[in-house]
Symmetry: C3
Subunit: 272 residues, 3 copies
Amino acid sequence: MNPYQRALNNLRTQNPLVHHLTNYVTVNDCANITLAIGGSPIMADDLEEVAAITELAQAVVINIGTLNARTVEAMVLAGKKANQLGIPVILDPVGAGASALRNQTLARLLAEVHFAVIRGNLSEIRFLAGFASVNQGVDVSPADLLTVQDSQAVAQQLALARQAVVVITGKVDVVSDGLQVALIDNGHPTMSRITGTGCMLSSLLGSFCGSQKDYFSASVAATLALGISGEIAHEKTQHQGTGSFRVALLDAVSQLTPTTMEQRGRLQIVKA
Amino acid sequence: MNPYQRALNNLRTQNPLVHHLTNYVTVNDCANITLAIGGSPIMADDLEEVAAITELAQAVVINIGTLNARTVEAMVLAGKKANQLGIPVILDPVGAGASALRNQTLARLLAEVHFAVIRGNLSEIRFLAGFASVNQGVDVSPADLLTVQDSQAVAQQLALARQAVVVITGKVDVVSDGLQVALIDNGHPTMSRITGTGCMLSSLLGSFCGSQKDYFSASVAATLALGISGEIAHEKTQHQGTGSFRVALLDAVSQLTPTTMEQRGRLQIVKA
Amino acid sequence: MNPYQRALNNLRTQNPLVHHLTNYVTVNDCANITLAIGGSPIMADDLEEVAAITELAQAVVINIGTLNARTVEAMVLAGKKANQLGIPVILDPVGAGASALRNQTLARLLAEVHFAVIRGNLSEIRFLAGFASVNQGVDVSPADLLTVQDSQAVAQQLALARQAVVVITGKVDVVSDGLQVALIDNGHPTMSRITGTGCMLSSLLGSFCGSQKDYFSASVAATLALGISGEIAHEKTQHQGTGSFRVALLDAVSQLTPTTMEQRGRLQIVKA
């Protein structure tokens, strides 16, 4: 059994509680995918309870998709508490570069919280890594549709700078802890035609990292899990449309087995 | 026609408006299930309008899943207004015991508002009934997987203390008004693998109680409705996965008939 | 190719970014339908970034479904910025007439923002046009189930008063810019048994108006697109239930072609 199969088994055995500070657009999808993979979701963002809920959790996911003054404070508090407890925090920097508020919030989060994993599209991760990036909203910018080599370089740079695992989602997904780089060639273009696949991957990252200490393998496993599920969803629904695809994606995550991960994963590990 | 079949007919005839003060995780599911069973959902939580909207409604559902300072005030205001108007208020004490904020909020709600129905899992209801409970988030704690007799006793105790109908969901659901106890052995384990089935039951309780004064029968009917729909959803989708199950659950609620309720209900009434 | 087919082609070519200030009940449906038709959704409502996000967008949708003090300010700010930039703003006056807060908010929005399109059910649009209306929540009032002629008159009146395109959804949908009136006899009754079809149409209006300057044709195209998709969804799912219908509706929008719009559209243009 490879490390990614083991990661899925760990998750299903341990049923980690994953605390989400997330956006109200895709929060239901995040809850359902967390349950589908074998975790338990909880969402609580009031300042008075955010630390208490974090104490119950095995991982925290911070997603700035619909941030506001109230929730940013809660994100900082949850992140700091998680750091104290030694549980992993996942950052989803939705729309990094799109507004001063997002950029300042990300600067503050990165200054006050250590993230175990940072996941975004290339636009977002480039912004965090200090590259200039022209952001067009929350989806990837056409100018960022560059080569996999670019993604690798950016992922490694940010990973080293932040001592985090960095996941860049794109045609080929890139996962790096600064030393190792994994290239994952699963997934299907229809995944970008429904809302929340990025957010859902962040929930899977929380679920996998909440059940084992090797965050690099956990992150590769989570990325494989979603990509493979996207492929299965497309095979099941073909051209029925994005509503059916969305249902089938959740189906596939809930039915995913270690064997399927091994058989369908198109993974390449590149040592740095 | 039994009282539960009549309850469904009442609901479909009267199309009650059910005002929800609820969480942002499952609010869409709550709206859709209210429509599916034959009610009309409305969600409004600004302090300036919450009383006005309550005046239009036939029932109010208060769910503390993602409570915050602003929404707690709105919950109290809606509950008090509903009490003045004599319309039923349903309480869903999500995560009771999980944080001081939740516990204080529940104490305040119970002190200031009379609830017609209180629905939770055994962890939550035990907490409200004054038992010590180790809460692990918003799902039921393993330590609470006790016998149906325990659930009965806790339900009756809280029902008498609060002059409310108490619904405890679990493998066997228990409904009690303190005198009568109904045991409902419908449902399917997959219901706990999607988010919001508890919240959805609270919406059904609002819908049924919003269309008749006998809240005990209304609560039994609502609990039967969801449990039977869960079984039908499983039969339709088998092992397709949780995405399909979720769709089929809403399908089944929307297609539920009094005849199906009579044929499939596994209900036992125990006089106290 | 007729103007509505061209409108769909424009949309798919231009992939407009549609900024939503909307409610937390149906926001996920709004995001998914925007993607399904070919746009890109973004939701951001913090006062500090709402103008910056509007600058990136090609259209703004303002939906007051779950308004509160914080979000109303953001709606005004986004609307004003959009007016400065010359990008269209869509108003969805959910529950107009149902509370003083909603009515005051609508008065303020109409005073401070120019709307390219205003979409509601007959209760809501009558309220905005200054007619007395007995509102029963967010769904259409039985007293408003009047004739298409009434809807036409109300739509034209509000369109002229506000220099906007007005869309009234009902058994027959009415679209008017004050001079022209389009009657659209597509759609299916099941659309009113799921939450958010009105909100979803507002998202489609934003998507179509965000990709061409002729807002009347864009609005007719959006209304045709949803109505035709509702019919296709019903044909595909028949009496499976509202869960399947909802999935099939999103499917149909995502698979809609100009040819289908031409073949299935039941459109009548009445010159004023």
